[in-house]
């Protein structure tokens, strides 16, 4: 069965330091992976997806199929990055698509 693992529930990083939020997945098919973010008192929203290969708010994430990982990285943390981050895997089954979420990592940026 498919699974998404985020090993860190909590992560604290000093402002200006590099950030890495870990995500590993297990899925027998071709994976499509996403990072979603929830800022305080806001709704869950897409941060980035691996297909786009883009950098959003300074964050990047590379899909590593060999290591089945999709870690989220940012070279210099900013205070506004404090939020809850979820890694998600989209699976397709007979035309039905759905997302499987990791347990999330709460990132706190220390001023």
């Amino acid at each position: 069965a498919q699974r998404v693992t985020q090993p860190e529930k909590l992560l604290s990083v000093f402002k200006g330091a590099p950030v890495e939020l870990k995500c590993n997945y297990s899925y027998s098919g071709s994976p499509e992976l996403f990072w979603y973010v929830q800022y305080s008192r806001q709704r869950l929203q897409l941060l980035l997806r691996h297909i786009s290969r883009e950098s959003i708010k300074g964050f990047t994430a590379d899909l590593n199929k060999g290591e089945t990982s999709f870690h989220l990285k940012k070279p210099f943390a900013q205070e506004e990055d404090s939020a809850m981050y979820y890694c998600a895997l989209k699976i397709s089954n007979f035309g039905n698509e759905k997302l499987t979420f990791g347990t999330g990592t709460r990132l706190t940026i220390i001023p």
């Binding site: 979603y36 869950l44 929203q45 997806r49 979820y86 997302l99 979420f101």
Partner: protein
């Protein structure tokens, strides 16, 4: 993008009663998704609601406990029936437009006492 209005935003309910959560989308979508997020845990998909057909429930969730309606392409309801304290959770409505990005409602924070 998609704008999703979900209500109520929160409620406190007595055990044994039922609560219906409404989800309104600002444009037509084929599939709507209902999630549960229990305290300290991740989002778990309850069911997928397609307009004009029965909802598809995930393992561990049944229609008698979580009946869903999908009367048109912009609206859905989820009912939490015969509630117990274990049903205390955040319930989220979501849509996935064009299969590229999921949009979420603000969530309904349910407390069962």
């Amino acid at each position: 993008s998609a704008v999703i209005s979900q209500k109520p935003s929160r409620d406190i309910c007595q055990r044994g009663t039922s609560l219906t959560i409404q989800c309104q989308v600002d444009s037509q979508v084929t599939m709507m998704f209902w999630y549960r997020q229990q305290p300290g845990q991740s989002l778990t998909l309850i069911a997928t609601a397609n307009q004009g057909s029965e909802a598809t429930y995930e393992s561990g969730f049944v229609i008698d406990k979580f009946p869903i309606s999908r009367p048109n392409l912009t609206f859905s309801t989820l009912t939490v029936s015969n509630m117990s304290p274990e049903d205390s959770s955040i319930y989220l409505c979501s849509v996935d437009r064009a299969g590229t990005e999921a949009f979420f409602g603000q969530g309904t924070r349910l407390t069962v006492v």
